[in-house]
Symmetry: C2
Subunit: 501 residues, 2 copies
């Protein structure tokens, strides 16, 4: 009997961990290498926090977890705070709640560390996975199928062999860079003009002295200010994590406590009050200003032996909350393709190596071919959504179109499509609805319909947008005509009024 | 008295060598590091030849050489073979000469090695430059202004300090990669669908047994075959270097001597005859198939201490023959900006370091700001020119527009603008003609007018193309109307002819 094939996965974030679980379930022997210390250790808690603290996980992410670790998916949701919609904080102090979904479906604010730690617990419990922290990849030789790894604890280098290497090592992926030495990879990285900075809204106290949320916890809060914006997501400890997105030049001007305070009081008076002046200035001056990078690659794989997933393959701007969802979906799609090729199930792992390799190569090739258009689509949608979040949501024309959008949705798609109803349909296939029926708002498709690929979403949304614009013009014309008629027919009365004055 | 500032230049190709000469002339102490052996040594002649053997140097390249090493520029031209135009080889065997310029200006076929060796001779002769071959950069620390270099002869690493680092180390630049660690650099690399492969047309024998060219030496020969093409440039030894550009899939099918021969006889019968069957098959099977990569970056510099030039900053596809011309022009522009800032002339090198650094930072910043649009423009023009070379040149509509283009040129721009007349005008400024007057064909502007920036060229050409298309339609309408009138007025005669039959 042949030994199981060996996979080396680089990066023990949520995507790398889920990929390890997916392969382990399919009979692979998995080694998972992570450059940072184990985040579950108390000693490393303080050191982390380079990345944003919480994130919005929605149906695509959950569907991926369900497909690979159903029990885990349910457990994570218990730690999440559901957000039903956006809460727009106007400059006037007025609040405007815009629901995400007609049927009350939510996105989920979850602590990134909590999600990651939960997955690492599953990883550690799996007999097929060995995980190594404080281990950085130095180089990879994809022709020899070996990798040089540096153990930062013992300060020694060693070599490991692999049959399949998965790079899930983030935006600045070493595996991607090593692959570019042997693959003719198209690659693009673009920094947008804006940076982000994280702040914290502390918990308040209720009348019994218990901690309480200072804003509605079941919304994603947005302070849209046209060229910049502040957002806030709730945490289980009743705090909010705020993120300020603004052009570098705008942030450059805020270097003194006075300038920071007066700027916040001018643009975000309620947020400034909730954060508190002292904490606001402290956090603003101490916390890093981080860049926003968008990367695109193609192909994602090399022959039968290497593939990049998650941010290593496609960093996107965070304005659709889909970065991690797309990364987890990568793992679901790859697993499906591996199964579809009949390659990596425990039964077929003992096929002759050449046949196995050929079928593995086919699965990776099909991953690149089918996944690229989806990833470009969501990356572009995320970029476009920045303008929507920081500017369009405040516009009357946007709200009019949104109303029309929802009306058409109600008229043509009366049934609720819940995640629970989709999960069995999705089992074993990349996407279930290649031609989704009826009218579906863009946000609904991106966020609540993992059965529709991002590429299909983008195409359908573009067609619908054309129709919406047409209908809006008709609407404007009809209202305009009605108004003109009204003015004409009341003309005499008005003239009379003036005449009598 | 303060010691002169030290520049480390990485890459001793034509761009790196010219940059070394430019800085040395301005009082810098220059160290030039090259990973490969000295190409002037007999022992290394055989080892080189990774890159294409010859190239077309035109006015921008020559203007850059003139600005930095006037004597050298004249010397190189003596080794070059002027090409007056394109020679189109039709499938029928017919030849069609299309001149590049109304006034007989030429581009120049020159041996890449000869140009490089000539510049290296100047470099070696300069007392301010030390050149090191077999020295590869391992890493650069731009905050500390130091670089780790590996001496491949002695197999040792050592560290050098610098005030300014110039990366002229080609498409796969190590300096660019090292800069990306500290600079938020937008970067893009794209492999096009096609590959290239070099072949050789040997010299023939004339009636006296002397070597002779088998095609007209004063043309760039093109065999346009729509989805692929062959080109040939003359060499001083009466041979031609041929380059075949074709989709990878097309080349994949040519794996046996028979398939190669029958394919060549079908599409390039005269070239196959000139090359000879034996040499053709040998070269085709032995020579590497190389990819075509297009890279774009922005910014090109880091603070007051690093900049990338030439292919390290902008690899483009070779279809406008502008890759090296643009690289040499980079050096001219940078030199001009350094002078303009009054920084690096021998006189100002002794300014206080802070002031010097500030002015150097300004010059590098202005280089990025002013040069980026130009480099994107020529990169895009080069990509577009592939379709022109392999397909459009064979179309009647193209030839009609070309004729109209030249007619408008003659009518609006009667004077000859030669390189000799431009050189004094260009001295000390990036470009002289920010608003070029009259009608100028695109090819003329790109190739023969270094006083016009690539970005200006692209914009003016786009405006002219719109006018040309409009005029073509008017032409078609007028001819069509005249034709219809002719048919109508001769109708009776024709009917009579038929009636009498």
């Amino acid at each position: 009997m042949q030994a199981p094939k060996k996979a080396v996965i680089v990066g023990a974030g949520p995507v790398g961990s889920l990929a390890a679980l997916a392969l382990a379930k399919r009979g692979w022997s998995v080694e998972l290498y992570e450059g940072r210390p184990d985040m579950r250790l108390a000693s490393s808690k303080a050191a982390t926090g380079q990345r944003s603290i919480n994130l919005a996980i929605s149906h695509r992410g959950i569907a991926a977890l369900e497909a690979i670790e159903p029990a885990a998916a349910q457990r994570f949701l218990q730690h999440a705070i559901p957000m039903r919609g956006r809460m727009i904080h106007k400059l006037s102090g007025e609040l405007d709640s815009q629901l995400y979904d007609r049927d009350g479906q939510c996105i989920n604010s979850i602590d990134r560390a909590l999600l990651n730690e939960g997955l690492l617990e599953e990883v550690t419990a799996s007999p097929n996975i060995r995980v190594f922290f404080n281990h950085k990849v130095v180089a990879a030789d994809f022709n020899e199928k070996t990798m040089t790894i540096h153990n930062s604890s013992s300060k020694t280098d060693f070599s490991v062999g692999f049959d399949l290497c998965i790079g899930a090592d983030g935006s600045y992926s070493v595996i991607r860079r090593q692959m570019m030495r042997v693959v003719r990879m198209n690659y693009q990285q673009e920094y947008i003009r804006d940076e982000y900075l994280e702040l914290k809204v502390p918990a308040g106290r209720d009348n019994y002295g218990e901690p309480t949320f200072l804003f509605d916890p079941n919304h994603l809060h947005i302070w849209p200010r046209h060229s910049f914006m502040l957002i806030a997501l709730p945490n289980k400890d009743k705090t909010f994590t705020c993120t300020l997105f603004a052009p570098s030049a705008e942030l450059d001007r805020l270097s003194s406590p006075d300038s920071i305070l007066s700027w916040f009081k001018l643009y975000f008076p309620d947020a400034a009050r909730a954060i508190g002046e002292k904490l606001l200035v402290e956090d603003f001056l101490r916390n890093p200003r981080s860049p926003l990078i968008c990367t695109k690659a193609n192909p994602y794989h090399y022959r039968d032996r290497a593939i990049i997933l998650g941010d290593a393959a496609h960093s996107m701007v965070p304005f659709y909350g889909q970065g991690l969802n797309a990364g987890l979906e990568d793992v679901r799609i790859l697993s499906t393709l591996l199964d579809g090729e009949g390659v990596s199930s425990a039964a077929s792992i003992y096929d002759p190596p050449n046949d196995h390799d050929r079928r593995l190569a086919n699965a990776l090739q099909r991953y690149t071919e089918t996944r690229h258009e989806d990833l470009i689509a969501i990356s572009d949608l995320a970029m476009n959504n920045y303008v929507e979040m920081r500017h369009s949501v405040t516009q009357l024309s946007y709200q009019f179109k949104k109303t029309l959008d929802n009306l058409l949705y109600s008229l043509t798609s009366p049934q609720v499509v819940s995640l629970a109803s989709l999960t069995p349909i999705l089992a074993g296939q990349p996407y279930a609805a290649s031609k989704p029926e009826g009218w579906l708002p863009l946000y609904t498709m991106v966020t609540f319909r993992p059965d529709i690929s991002y590429a299909t979403v983008k195409k359908k949304a573009a067609r619908q947008a054309t129709i919406l614009t047409g209908l809006s013009w008709i609407g404007v014309t009809v209202f305009g005509a009605a108004g003109a008629w009204l003015m004409w027919s009341t003309r005499e009365m008005v003239l009379d009024l003036f005449a009598h004055k």
